[in-house]
């Protein structure tokens, strides 16, 4: 039994934390709501190697595991970074046998977007290369992107119409499914980071802010709300680690673990962000405070790649089919 990060992963997490703390922030997520650029942006993510963590070494990536990527994604989530490592993780799976495209993913020379159905797609804004499943085949092509006024501007959401698609892999349903599960794990990892940060910010304020002669964190209503949010974050961490581990070490468990992690991430982040606002009182719902930026991320992410209801249904289906026995 060794269900813990190893030293390399701990080091990678520390490095990623330093990088994202320097290169991204809620302040930049706030600016993005008024047309500011994404931070750190694709270029910087490519340069530090984060877009290629799970790209094969011979395609210029690091050939790492999904768990390696998840520990970095957590730090990205903590700073509301964009574009998302979800897209990098998912595209790396889809492009496993396409070394040139995979290299362009890793070095940032192409901006990828993976498109499901007709809803808004993650990282569509600014993308130049679109991947989709059409009639069971993996296709690649250009795309026209329609933007809206999304709750969270760091997700680069856009509705995509593919242009000039060509088939990359015929009969790619299984590949697509695995890539989607990997995306669920990466998204849950980013949400883990955001949720953990929201709790941390809430806890810090609860220690500092006084009312009626004592720190508000000494009141059970505040304390217990933060504790419940924290307990959720720690449970989410376990599900994310399990799912990321399963992607490489136990692929049969991936669908159950990925759906579990994503379902739990949606609700855990939402609760953490709402708790963060509530703990802050009036200041917590002002534009200038960071709390609403975590909340915006929560409101968008809970719907991305299927909401909790969708994934609870998936989990039920797998459990009914004997996934736990």
């Amino acid at each position: 039994m060794n269900f813990d990060l190893d030293q390399d992963q701990l080091d990678a997490a520390a490095g990623a934390k330093q990088f994202f703390t320097g290169q991204a922030s809620p302040a930049q997520a706030r600016a993005a709501l008024e047309d500011g650029p994404l931070a750190p942006g694709r270029r910087a993510l490519a340069d530090i190697g984060f877009l290629g963590i799970t790209v094969a070494e011979d395609a210029g990536g690091a050939g790492g595991s999904l768990l390696d990527l998840a520990v970095v994604a957590e730090q990205a989530g903590a700073q509301l970074a964009g574009p998302s490592l979800v897209t990098a993780a998912r595209a790396a799976v889809l492009l496993a046998d396409q070394p040139e495209l995979a290299a362009a993913l890793a070095d940032g020379s192409r901006a990828f977007c993976v498109v499901d159905g007709s809803g808004p797609a993650l990282d569509a804004v600014g993308a130049d290369t679109f991947l989709a499943l059409v009639d069971g085949d993996l296709v690649v092509g250009g795309g026209e992107v329609t933007t809206g006024q999304p709750m969270d501007a760091t997700r680069g959401l856009g509705v995509v119409t593919l242009t000039d698609p060509r088939v990359l892999v015929a009969g790619a349903a299984a590949l697509w499914a695995r890539a989607r599960d990997v995306a669920l794990v990466a998204l849950a990892a980013e949400d883990l980071g955001t949720a953990g940060k929201a709790v941390e910010v809430g806890v810090a304020y609860a220690k500092e802010r006084h009312a009626f002669g004592r720190a508000i964190g000494s009141y059970q209503a505040v304390k217990h709300g933060l504790v419940d949010a924290w307990v959720g974050v720690e449970q989410l961490r376990s599900l994310v680690w399990w799912a990321a581990w399963a992607a490489d070490a136990a692929p049969d468990e991936l669908p159950l673990a990925a759906a579990s992690a994503k379902a739990f991430a949606a609700e855990t982040l939402e609760r953490a962000a709402e708790t963060c606002i509530q703990v802050h009182g009036g200041i917590g719902f002002t534009w200038e405070h960071d709390a609403h930026l975590y909340w915006r991320r929560a409101k968008v992410d809970r719907l991305l790649l299927g909401d909790a209801a969708e994934h609870h249904d998936v989990v039920a289906g797998l459990v009914l089919a004997g996934a736990l026995s």
């Binding site: 808004p120 709750m151 009626f212 009141y219 009036g282």
Partner: protein, 410 residues
């Protein structure tokens, strides 16, 4: 038991409806959620509307006749509110002045203050705001730090207020200050009427997470207030403020109205969207719509019980806090059911944001504030627990310490 007007109430309602029809040409009319393009024009139109209504005897009806009111009942005031809504006339611009500031001036002001302020307030010649909350004193109002220091016939005020509704259009405000920091926190406060146009007063709109600005920050920088503008004795400010807060409860009332988008708008959205969902999603959406509707109806009919108490001459008690608590919970269920029906559309909101998706998105971003503004859920639960259920309060170490020495100054 019935939901009808008494004969007296029916007659009063008919008279109000008549007056509103008669003056319709001079009143602003707006659909719910609609706003005028120009804020300045809007302000002037709202001031004019209130003046017309005041002249028709429809403003401050529950105030005594000697102060310019009609000596009427809270039930009559509720009827006017319902009829204004029915006629699509927006809330009075001076609702804070009428509901909170005016009653405070009446209770604690001098005859001279009554003379100078009340009639103008009812006509919206002056708009009023309430300057209590500060960055470091939200739920714990008595921890405020804005100081007023006596200087000859004046007091000199320095500090900052926040969450001040209408400050940006106000002419006067009631201002709670600390005048004796050596006394325990509740004991060193004094209330004033402040001229919002006086030198040293700066008003800055406070932007909320949804982008709108319902509140302001107000800065006081060596603002001089003549001692004649004091409300009540020095050191009696907390007692004066309690008058204001009691009247706030009367004004807010927990009347069971929907907060945010109404359950009726959820019903319309559901009727439009549900047929397009998969069978599985229909089952789940119906659960969410049903649950939200039950919560909203429970809150609405509980509001009718409170209105009944008022109509029988009662005053809203601490149980009115339950109305806000339940209203907030219902509003969250309504908002979440709506967003669930809209799915991706709600987060994405293609277009101008004026469409259905944009409305629900804004509603969602406005909601976290309602569990905080006007009393956080936590404070309301304390109020109900202690004043309705009779549960003991928490130990308070801050009440009797000199304010200077208290943790509240951190």
């Amino acid at each position: 038991m019935d939901f009808d007007d008494t004969p007296d109430e029916a007659a009063y309602r008919a008279r109000v409806r008549d007056l509103l029809a008669q003056h319709a040409g001079d009143l602003v009319h707006l659909d719910a959620g609609e706003e005028a393009a120009d804020a300045g024009e809007q302000e002037q139109a709202l001031r004019r509307t209130q003046r017309v209504l005041a002249e028709a005897g429809l403003v401050g009806v529950a105030w005594a006749a000697e102060h310019g009111g009609q000596g009427g009942s809270l039930a009559q005031q509720a009827i006017i509110g319902q009829e204004l809504a029915r006629a699509k006339v927006p809330s009075l611009i001076n609702h804070i002045g009428i509901g909170m500031c005016g009653p405070t001036v009446i209770a604690h002001g001098t005859p001279d203050q009554h003379e100078r302020y009340l009639a103008r307030l009812l006509r919206a010649d002056d708009v009023w705001c309430q300057l209590f909350s500060e960055p470091a004193s939200g739920s714990d109002l008595a921890a405020l730090r804005t100081t007023a220091v006596r200087d000859g016939d004046d007091w000199v005020v320095n500090g900052q207020k926040v969450w001040t509704t209408l400050a940006h259009v106000s002419d006067h405000g009631i201002l709670l200050t600390r005048t004796d920091p050596d006394r325990p926190k509740h004991g060193g406060l004094t209330m004033f009427v402040v001229d919002m146009h006086a030198p040293g007063v700066t008003v800055r709109p406070l932007r909320q997470m949804g982008g709108q600005s319902d509140f302001n920050e107000v800065f006081f920088d060596d603002v001089r207030i003549p001692d004649t503008e004091r409300l009540g004795e020095p050191g009696e400010g907390w007692r004066v403020a309690l008058t204001t807060l009691l009247n706030e409860r009367v004004a807010v009332g927990g009347g069971g109205n929907d907060l945010g988008l109404s359950v009726e708008s959820l019903a319309r959205l559901a009727a439009a969207k549900l047929p397009g969902l998969t069978a599985q999603r229909q089952v789940l959406a119906r659960q969410a719509v049903g649950r939200a509707a039950v919560a909203a109806l429970g809150n609405r009919y509980t509001g009718y019980r409170r209105l009944t108490a008022i109509s029988q001459g009662g005053l809203p008690g601490p149980e009115a806090s339950a109305g806000k608590l339940a209203g907030t919970a219902a509003a969250k269920l309504v908002a979440d059911a709506g967003v669930r029906l809209l799915g991706d559309d709600a987060v994405f909101a293609v277009g101008t944001g004026d469409d259905e998706a944009g409305r629900w998105q804004r509603n969602q971003a406005w909601l976290p504030g309602i569990a905080i503004a006007g009393g956080t859920d936590e404070v309301l639960r304390n109020i109900i627990g202690e004043r309705v259920l009779g549960l003991p309060p928490e130990p308070r170490e801050d009440k009797h310490r000199p304010f200077n020495a208290s943790g509240s100054t951190r």
